[in-house]
Symmetry: C2
Subunit: 161 residues, 2 copies
């Protein structure tokens, strides 16, 4: 289903690598395949597990060395959502300006896009004398449904509708 995004991810990565005189390898193939096999956020360690299912020879070191390349090339975005470890978000290729709401009750992460937010951020940035690069909004919030019914349907859902 997201084969298209996997394909273009690979092209983007190898274009980026070529520009820096870096090489195509089977391990990098497996890692990128793994990273774009999901729409969920993942930790480095989880990416290792996913990549190993594709190519058992992938090592932890290679995952940690490849991750910065994926971030620099714009394929993944690093998220600090308050958990112990960094998360990596593979959804920026398809939704380059999306943001995150984190439920402080159940820790669920909701992705959202808002054009007004986008415009306002640009406006503020320029007013301050800068040109925007990466904008990141994190909203921590309580789930109204959980408050009212003691239960929250969102808890079970995937991260994006």
């Amino acid at each position: 289903m997201e084969t298209a995004s996997r394909e273009s991810a690979r092209e983007i990565l190898y274009g980026y690598l070529a520009g820096k005189g870096l090489r195509k390898t089977t391990q990098r193939d497996a890692i990128i395949e793994a990273a774009f096999s999901t729409k969920e956020h993942f930790k480095a360690e989880e990416l290792l597990v996913m990549a190993r299912k594709i190519d058992l020879s992938v090592s932890r070191a290679t995952v940690y060395r490849t991750l910065p390349l994926l971030v620099e090339s714009g394929l993944l975005r690093e998220l600090d959502l308050g958990g112990e470890t960094k998360l990596y978000d593979p959804n920026f290729l398809e939704h380059p300006t999306h943001n995150h709401l984190v439920c402080v009750d159940c820790k669920k992460i909701i992705e959202f896009e808002d054009i007004n937010m986008e415009l306002l951020e640009n406006c503020i940035t320029r007013r301050l004398g800068f040109s925007p690069t990466n904008k990141m909004v994190k909203i921590e919030a309580h789930c109204d449904e959980l408050r009212q019914h003691g239960q929250c349907a969102k808890r079970a859902t995937g991260s994006e509708g």
Copy 2:
């Protein structure tokens, strides 16, 4: 000059501690005094150094154990601005809704407040079925001045005007 904020910080902390059956100690005094002696963001290690100047007996462990109390009580805010380590921001008492712009060239951090941003965040959050708690915007950007003149005056300035 910010003695007022130091005083109220201490009151808030001890109110919070009392509510949990926790105690007043000279080390916690030194740590809070240190934390609010500056408007700069600081790392845990830097807080240790500052606190030790006030009370030499403060240990690293106590700083690390106190920091979460300061965050939970709303006195400090933890920032993930992309550096290696977490930063702590003592300016939320005075400016509860401020946000951060990070210059990707010189790493300088600019604090800003914007009422429209505030309103928009609340609006988006409610639309998603949540009640906002903490909102955090981080904008990474290039400095126009640096681009045009190869030099940036902001580089030298303190973090807030």
